[in-house]
Every structure is written in structure tokens, then in C-alpha cells.
Amino acid sequence: MATIVAEATGQAILQEEHEQSFLRKYIFSTDHKVIAIQFLFTTLFFLAVGGFLAMMMRYQIAWPDQPIPGGGIFPESMVASGYILPEFYNSLVTMHGSIMVFLAIMPMLVGVYANYLIPLQLGTHDMAFPRLNMYSFWVMVPAGILTLASFFVVGGAAGAGWTLYAPLSARPDLTGVALGQQMWLVAIVLIGLSSIFGSLNYITTVINMRAPGMTWFRMPLTIWALFITAILGLLAMPVLSAAGIMLLFDQTIGTSFFLPEGGGQPLLWQHLFWFFGHPEVYILILPAMGFTSEILSVGSRKPVFGYKAMVWAIIGIAFLGFIVWGHHMFQSGMNPTLGLTFTVSTLFIAVPSAIKTFNWMGTMWRGNLHFHTPMLFAIGFVAMFAIGGLSGIFMASTPVDIYIHDTYFIVAHIHYVLFGGSLFALFAAIYFWFPKMFGRMMNEKLGKIHFWTTMIFFNLVFFPMHGVGMVGMMRRIYDSTGYAHLQGIGGTNELMTWSAFALYATGFLFAFNFFWSIFKGKKAEANPWNATTLEWQTPSPPKHGNWAEVPVVYHGPHEYSHPGVTDKDWLAQNERPDLPSPAGGH
């Protein structure tokens, strides 16, 4: 009975495709694949915008005494007679962080790939709530527009840092930014709403709509990571929304939640922000870990090493992720006893990350490594994430944090995790799932050049930041030349800036490859990487509704080089019901 219904649904959806107008099919579509692609284009745009802001910052840091070339095209409120103004620099710092976190990396990880992969890898026709899914994209669009528009209002864009520490963020009289800050807060509430709609969909779909045979421990690690990420988003984003609304009230209607003059608590903002913010860090890295696990397994032609350990590590990170937020606040004036508690929980959250790193190495060990571009970026992820994870141990140790807190050491750490981690994995994911999304391959040669240039310039930009951080260069300073202890770092700063320009340029190489391949790339087969998960067992790109017939799953997700299969080195999840195969690790 259920079978008949499911198949009937599939055919009904397939037929429906031909009856939709252009608007319903490509703009206000409820098809998870179209929504994912909408998210992809939007987030790539914001990635470019966020990067551009970083280039301006880097110029200012390297050459604070020189006018910026082409500065004349900016309004006087941003760049006066060729020089970036300090208040505009603060906006650059703030908006670079905000855009990268909220409009580029986070929606690219979950908006694009949770949307695209959850129904396909689980073997279902679409999300649980397709219309809600559409809203989750269309709620983010006004947030993006507000964010961009805020640069051009009186007072400029928000300038209190992406962490928006009150009272600086709450009192326009102290920054000169009123409307820009309020637009930022409205945008963040909208992004929260978008993220909650998305998470709600992802969680419900994973819980209730898996294909027959797709048991919990047969889910690909990507799905596990995205599922746990959705839970983190669901529980963390509303707290930011609540805090953001209170901050907005402080800004606009004269309340004083975070203003001590009215009895408020500045530290309350920090607690609420980081209660969201630390789970957010894992929202930004868990999906990347999932992509990496899967792509490493495909590229090594080996099952993921320690599948179950990987799953438990993800779950462990999610639990611990809610009790470590105070490590962002060691020097904030927080009760020092809390500092002790948070040191311990923070060091323990490093354990699951260590487990994952060793398991990735275990996956490559005795494999048969194929170095296609996605694999290169996945290996790059492991290498760079390891550095980011290790530099985190310095901050977790409270006494050391006294010195390196709010220095460039922190900036180095966060970029090793967010760029070297999340973005490397995203590049891997884009190259890997591009053929499924667009039915064409991206150019391998350009992809490899993109990988090597990114790898080299990324390290040239961000590794020296550990050094200037050790010297003591504070974060978010407009001009470091006035400080005696920062006299020796000018050359390093220039090196980093030149490398940053080169790194940004490699982005254009990628963009060219991306857009060129959409139209001119080599036609992709259904399964160009010889991968096992369900999305590769349907045409590229999949039709509306994904499957004419719902697949039945018989195997764990990453069965490569199975000894029982002789004609090829992979075993799709939905073939050979006769072969026994373990669900996960032993």
C-alpha cells in the first residue's frame, strides 16, 4: 500500500514539473534542488563581497599612511581624500565578519548542501515542508539586501564588530552608527528565521522521511553532520534573535537591557551572544567535516575509518558545544570561577575533533588515493583544520589566553578554522557535487591550479598572523604603527596583504571555472566519481522529484573496495541485496 502511494507520488511530481510556470519553476520554486542552487549563487556573491571588504582592510593594515588606489569612487563618508576613515574601517571589520559568517559560509553549508543533499542522499522526493523551504530562501534575500544597503545610509554600516558588544553597539552616540546598526539587527533576525525554517525542515526530513532500509547508521556522514548542525541551529539561532531584538530595543525605543546606566548588564549580551556563537562555530564546521569524510572516502576508495566513532564525535561536539561558550569571555570580567569550568569543557571539546582528524588519516591509510580536485581540497581541509584546531588549544588554556586574547593570534585561528576548514571543504563540495547539480563537470586542470594557489596564498596570509599575534598586535586596529611594541611587523603585514590580494584573485579563477563549466563543461554521467551514496544513483541533474521509484537501501554509506564485489571498487547503497555489509565501523 505504502509502496503504491510512494510511487504514485513520484510520478505525480514528475508530471507536475511540466505544468509549472517559469516563475514557479526557477524563482519561487519549492524544489529543494532549485532552492539549493538559488542559495549557491547568492552565497557565492556574498563570499565575493565579504572578500572585497577584507581586501580593503588588508590595504589599510599594510599601508596606513598611503591613500587607497581608486579611493575616489567611494563617498566621502567612507574614504576621505583617498584615505579609509577609521569609522569606515570599523564597518569593514564588522561587515566582513558578519557577511562571511551569516550570508556566505553558514548558508552555503546548510542552505546549499543540506537542501541539496538531504533528500537525495536519504532517498526521498523532497523536503518535509517544501514551501517552508522556499520561504527560508526568500527570507534571507531581504536580509542580504538590508546588509548591503546599510553601507549607504547615514552613519554607515554597523561598526561594533560582528560580535556587537554592547554598549558600543547599543549607543549610537558613541559610534555615530544608528540606522546601519539597526538594519544589521533586523537582518540578523531575518537570517535567524531563515535558519530556523531550514533547520526545522532538515531535522524533520531526516527523522521521518528516510528511504526504506536507510537506518540511522546507514546514513552518509554528510547527513549526520548536517542533521546535528540543524539541531544546533534550531536551538542556538532563536537565542541570538531574542538577544538581537533586545539590542534593537536598546537602540531604538530607549530600553536598557545591556546599558548599565539603566541597570542593564553588558556582560549579559556577551553571554547570550556566545551561547549562540559557540554552537554557531560548530554549525560552521560540522557540515564541512561531513563533506570531508565523504570525499576522502570516495577519493581513497575505502570505507570511512571508524564510521561510528565519527558519528559519536559529531554528537559529542554538539552536546559539548552548548557548554563552552564562556571561553570567548575569559578576559571579559566574567566570574573567574566560571573561567575554570569553561577551560575544562573547552579542552574536552577538542577530543572529538582530534578523533575525527585521526579517523580521516585512517581513511587515507592503505587507500588507493585519487587526487581529483575535490579530494585535494578535502586533504587540504584536514591539513588546515588541524592547524586551526591546534592553535585553539592556546586559547583554551586561560592563562595563555590572557596574552593572546584579542590579538591577531585569534584572527589566525578563526581563519584557519573558517577558511582553511569550512571554505576548503566547501570548495571540495562544490567541485564534488557540481556534476550532480548542473549535469556538467568542472574543469579539472583549472581546479587543480585553484587548489594549489589557494593553498599557498592562504597559508601566506594567515600563518604569519600567528606571528604578529604573538608580537601583540591587537585585533581590529586601524593603524598599528603608533605602538612601540608593533614596530617590527610592518614587513609581515605587507607580505600578508600581497598574499591576500593573490588569494582573492584565485577566487576569480574559481568563479570563471564555475560559470564556464555550467555552460561549457564536459557532460557528466550519473556517477562520475564512482561513489556509493544514493544521489549518484539517479541522473545528473536529477529530475523534479528525484526518483521515479524510491530506492531501497541495503548497505552502509561508504562501501568502497568491498571484497565481495569483483567488477568495480564500489558498492552502491541500493544494489546487491545479497551481499552482507556492515552498517558502520567495528
Binding site: 505504502a2 509502496t3 524533520t204 527523522i207 521521518n208 526504506p212 532563536p238 530600553t255 539603566g262 547570550l272
Partner: protein, 204 residues
Amino acid sequence: MAHAATAGRAPERGLDVYTQKVGMWVFLCSEVMFFAGLIGSYVVLRFGAADVWAEPGDVLAIGITAVNTFILICSSVTMVKAFAAAEADDQKGIRNYLLATTLLGALFLGIQVYEYTELVLHAEWQGSHGFTPQAGLYGATFYTMTGFHGFHVLLGVVCLAWATKRAYAGHWGKDNTHGIEVLGLYWHFVDLVWIILFTIVYLI
């Protein structure tokens, strides 16, 4: 049925609960966190500055809000009655109970608006006339928490009005109870939040 020999073709069991209901519960989890942000801030701020809060009854009117609490509780019972009626396929019951729930929700909102007006115009607090969101932490937390609760009630009333309209078109019945149950979950959650708010904002 090519694969009849294998473990059948039904999707994985999931929660053994239909998808819309799972979705609503998941959504309510995020709502819990949203109110936790607001209520948690109130608790923390009040704990840290105990002296800027009035004794119960001094500023906020207990009587009228107790009546309002009663109204919301009644609307919860009419909501479950509507669901029971749907399960029993009692069309008249569905219509009447949904209509009653909608009206009780609207009445709650009306009373809240009246309460706000009275507070802003006539209440006395710390020597000044009128109790507004600008009246220190007390006013700020009060209006934020009850205001967002009221906003949730408003959304609920809109959805209930829509469900009632469909009830008059004979949409709900024994084979179509999910919508009422899911809407009911939201409505009871809003009631539940009010139970907490009434206690910690008005009575403590």
C-alpha cells in the same frame, strides 16, 4: 513489487508520528529557546538588580490578568475539544469549538491591549506617571516578554481564524485531523508560555 522479498518498501519508521506533528514539535523547540532568551535575560537581570522591581499588584494589575489567564486556559480546553470533535467527526463541534477558541484568543489580545493602555497612561511607577518600556529594566522586560507572547497569540488567532473558516467549509473531519492537532500544539504552547509568564512577571 520487485523487492517484495526484502524488508518491505515502507520508509524507515522515524518517530512513528506523522511528519507535520514532528515538524511542529521541532519548531516548538526553537520557540522554547527564543522565550528562554527573553525569560532568561529577565531572570538574570532581576537576580542582578533586585531593587528595581515592584511588589506584585503595585504596578501591574493582577485581577485583570488573572482573568486573562483564565481566558487563555479556557481557549486551550476549547482547542482540545475541537480536536476531539474532529476525531469523532462531529462537524458542529469542530465549528463551534474552533470559533470559540478564535474568539477567546482575540479576547485575550483585546484585554492585553487594554492593559497596556492603562499601564502607559495611568500607572504610577517610581514617582513618574505612566509605565512604559523606557521605565528601566522593569518596563523593558515586561513589555518585551508579554509583547512577544502577545505577538505569538496574534499569529495563533490568525491561523485559528483560517482553520475556523475551513471548518465552515467542512474541511476537517475524522480523516483530516492533523491540521487541528498541529495548530492545537502551537496554541497550547502559547498557553504554556503564558502560564510561566503570569507567574514570574506578575506574581513574583
